[in-house]
């Protein structure tokens, strides 16, 4: 570790707080722009909410009405609206000021099936979604009216992001193809190559682009997933490709861990120029790490949490929450709990506090 990395480590190494244990598994997690509300999208079709002003999370009534898994959540920039998207293809907009809100609008078939990604433009006018139907769709954020349908991927699209300047959307698919779309015309203007994140293992397309995030200046695109070695019980090394946005070339590849460490499921940029990411691999294996582009190793790495699937970063950059999984989540055959019931798994939410 060089001196710069040591300085970063000293400045940004976070401390873990007491986890909040939920009753079900969650797959998405975000803070509101004010940082006052924490929201999670669940595999039980709910959107869970907590008041998050302090280190203690106070639950608010869950939002119901979705089906399947709620994997896409996002806020309007001023925080008045929450958007949520589910695996049955429904997109909803909710007011955030009410304790028991009703949707402002909804599109029941925004996609044919699983919506995998949702992003809101910086000025808040455009909402972008992507899904298993191989389409990116752009929506008018205030009404839910469809603006564009962007087609051209040949596989399901697992992640997307909007460039900070708002002119372009990028989408990444299961085969590691990243497309850059012009928001105004709806045309694909460039393709970036992240195929190293894909493997055809027998009949199975494995891996794919699982997270995309621009740095605050819009000069670097972090494109994350796994370098897969086999399908089935998927094995692979968590990997981030840092694309230079001007040239479209990979300027650095960061692989963190080994084959059993699996996927990077979520990542965010810190204003200080590093990414904060979470991973999930074999049952029980999860990581939170901070990595600066160009460095060989993360300057911070925690392996205490099992199977981390989402990461929420407080807007002030001082608090993080990691959505992980309970330990002992796997096992073959009939394994009943002490009440002789068949057990489900659940997500602990692990809060972390950065120094300062």
């Amino acid at each position: 570790m060089n001196d710069d990395a040591k300085t970063l480590r000293d400045r940004f190494t976070p401390k873990e707080g007491k986890p909040l244990l939920l009753d079900r598994q969650m797959c998405a997690l975000r803070f509101s722009p004010s940082g006052k509300i924490l929201v999670a999208g669940g595999t039980d079709a709910t959107v869970r909410r907590w008041e998050a002003n302090t280190a203690t999370f106070t639950p608010l009534p869950a939002l119901t009405g979705h089906h399947g898994w709620v994997q896409g959540i996002g806020f309007s920039p001023e925080g008045s609206r929450l958007y949520s998207a589910d695996s049955w293809g429904e997109l909803r907009a909710w007011p955030t000021q009410e304790r028991t809100p009703k949707p402002l609008w909804n599109v029941p078939q925004a996609h044919d099936g699983w919506i995998r990604g949702l992003a809101v433009s910086r000025e808040g006018k455009v909402l972008a979604t992507c899904g298993r139907d191989q389409l990116v769709r752009l929506w008018q954020a205030d009404t839910g009216a469809k603006k564009h349908e962007l087609s051209g991927h040949n596989e399901e699209i697992l992640a997307l992001a909007i460039h900070p300047e708002g002119k372009f959307v990028v989408s990444g698919d299961l085969q590691g193809v990243v497309k850059q779309w012009d928001v105004t015309t709806g045309k694909c203007v460039r393709e970036l190559d992240a195929r190293v994140l894909h493997l055809l293992s027998r009949l199975q397309d494995t891996g794919g682009v699982r997270a995309l995030a621009f740095d605050p200046q819009g000069t670097t695109l972090a494109c994350a997933g796994t370098k897969p070695s086999v399908g089935g019980n998927v094995q692979g090394v968590p990997t981030i490709l840092f694309f230079d946005w001007a040239t479209g070339k990979v300027k650095h590849t960061a692989s963190v861990g080994n084959d059993g460490d699996g996927y990077i499921y979520d990542l965010h940029w810190h204003p200080a120029g590093f990414v904060m990411a979470v991973t999930s691999g074999n049952p029980g294996v999860g990581k939170l790490f901070f990595q600066r582009p160009g460095e060989a190793q993360p300057f911070f790495l925690s392996t205490k949490m099992a199977n981390c699937h989402a990461l929420a970063v407080h807007p002030e950059g001082k608090r993080l929450v990691v959505c992980a999984t309970n330990t002992g989540s796997n096992g073959n055959g009939r394994q009943l709990d002490k009440n002789k019931e068949y057990p489900g798994n659940y997500s602990p939410l692990h809060p972390w506090t950065l120094p300062g």
Binding site: W69, R202, Q204, G232, T325, N345
Partner: protein
């Protein structure tokens, strides 16, 4: 070679049937069921020319992402359920093409089997999990090859299309002996050196084979019959396959069919399987590997199941169009299902407690739905069915009465399937 001076164990065998025959006048079989003589049964079955397509999704297809969806429930996963051509039966949205053909097929949702490991489970299921009598039972393919024979095609009665290597796989045959093994077409290709090298003329080849046959006969005089038979048999089958090379030459596959079945591995193998069935092969097994989705189960099933759906639906359409479903029994299954519980790797583990399969053709009740699981899909709430029930059902559909027919394992009478099980009547038209 000198004859061995000592006698061998098999030369001293007195079959239990012979013994029973001697003490009971031959009026009772060992099971007391009045077993049918094998040659008579074989003649009868040959006339009917029934065939089997056995599709094996190795590792464990998730029942929740296929034939027993539980959408919007705790363990239901992200996918929707869709209606099928049979009112009241819904399947996963990942199977839209097969859904339209459900009126040809039958779904069983009440499988509850014993083994949650691959190493033991694969063989246990494919051998029908009979009562343990200290003998190795044949896989279904070997059993059917024995009872139905090669038919008039002259082709090997048991062909296995699979990823990986080719060869003659004798281990499937169990106590039936190596002759009833599987001729494996690894990645759709025949075993190495099966085809005559161009440098050898057909006359030279014939002469070489005649010489080999003479030597084989001499060799066989001093050897165990099962092994020498199998050796000669492999050469016979090779000769037959050499005459029908166009069957497995991909260059002869119509582009339209390739597009319908899919250019992926499973699609190519299923199309080859159809050609073998059309040519009269008695039992064709198609394997697909990679279904052990302990990790990333949903993305895995999201792209694998539609590929299976494409090829399986094309096969059912073709068999129905050709009126072959009247005599071809189609079965698609794994060694177990997958856990309702979703682990931290977003995978599902092994679950033999409540899982599903699909089948059709050859007298299987069209559009049947057998069995029920609870709302969460964790356990069977109707009568449970073990693999033994399915073996009885399949033999019955093929015209083999498991109550009357038994194996003769060098004198040891053995039931075809677990005697505590019986055919599932709702599945038999």
């Amino acid at each position: 070679m000198k004859k061995h001076p000592l006698c061998r164990p098999w030369e001293h065998r007195l079959s239990r049937r012979q013994w029973l025959g001697s003490v009971a006048g031959g009026t009772l079989g060992a099971l007391g069921l009045g077993a049918i003589a094998e040659p008579l049964l074989a003649d009868e079955l040959k006339k009917k020319h029934r065939q089997v397509l056995f599709i094996w999704l190795d590792g464990g297809l998730s029942q929740l992402e296929s034939w027993d969806p539980k959408p919007h429930t705790q363990f239901g996963g992200p996918f929707r359920a869709i209606p099928t051509s049979v009112p009241g039966i819904q399947v996963s949205e990942l199977l839209p093409r097969t859904a339209k053909l459900m009126h040809h097929l039958a779904v069983v949702r009440s499988l509850c089997t014993k083994d949650n490991s691959h190493s033991a489970g694969v063989a246990r299921i494919q051998r029908g999990d009979p009562k343990n009598r200290g003998v190795t039972y044949p896989y279904l393919g070997s059993a059917v090859a024995k009872w139905l024979g090669a038919g008039e095609s002259g082709l090997p009665p048991y062909i296995w299309v699979k990823p990986g290597s080719s060869g003659f796989i004798t281990s499937d045959a169990g106590f039936l002996g190596p002759k009833y093994g599987a001729m494996a077409f690894g990645d759709g290709k025949p075993p190495e050196n099966l085809l005559r090298p161009p440098a050898i003329s057909s006359d030279e080849d014939r002469e070489r084979n005649e010489l080999r046959a003479r030597l084989d006969r001499r060799y066989a005089e001093k050897r165990r019959k099962e092994n020498t038979e199998a050796n000669a048999y492999v050469y016979e089958m090779a000769a037959q396959l050499q005459k029908k090379q166009e069957l497995f030459n991909p260059a002869t596959f119509p582009a339209k069919d390739v597009a319908r079945y899919g250019s992926h591995e499973f699609g190519r193998h299923m199309l080859l399987a159809r050609r073998f069935l059309e040519a009269g092969v008695t039992f064709v097994k198609v394997n697909s590997y990679g279904w052990d989705t302990h990790g990333d189960n949903f993305v895995g099933h999201s792209n694998m199941v539609p590929r299976v759906d494409q090829a399986f639906a094309a096969m059912i359409e073709d068999l129905a169009d050709r009126r072959m479903l009247d005599h071809v029994l189609v079965i698609m299954m794994s060694e177990f299902g997958r856990t309702p519980r979703i682990n931290g790797h977003v995978g599902r583990d092994h679950w033999p407690e409540a899982w599903s399969l699909i089948m059709g053709g050859c007298g299987i009740q069209k559009g049947a739905l057998v069995g029920k699981t609870n709302d969460k899909g964790t356990f069977v709430t109707s009568a449970e069915h073990d693999i033994g029930h399915l073996f009885h059902t399949w033999f019955q559909a093929l015209g083999i009465d498991t109550q009357k027919v038994e194996y003769d394992n060098a004198g040891q009478p053995l039931p075809l399937a677990h005697e505590d099980c019986a055919p599932i009547k709702e599945l038999l038209a």
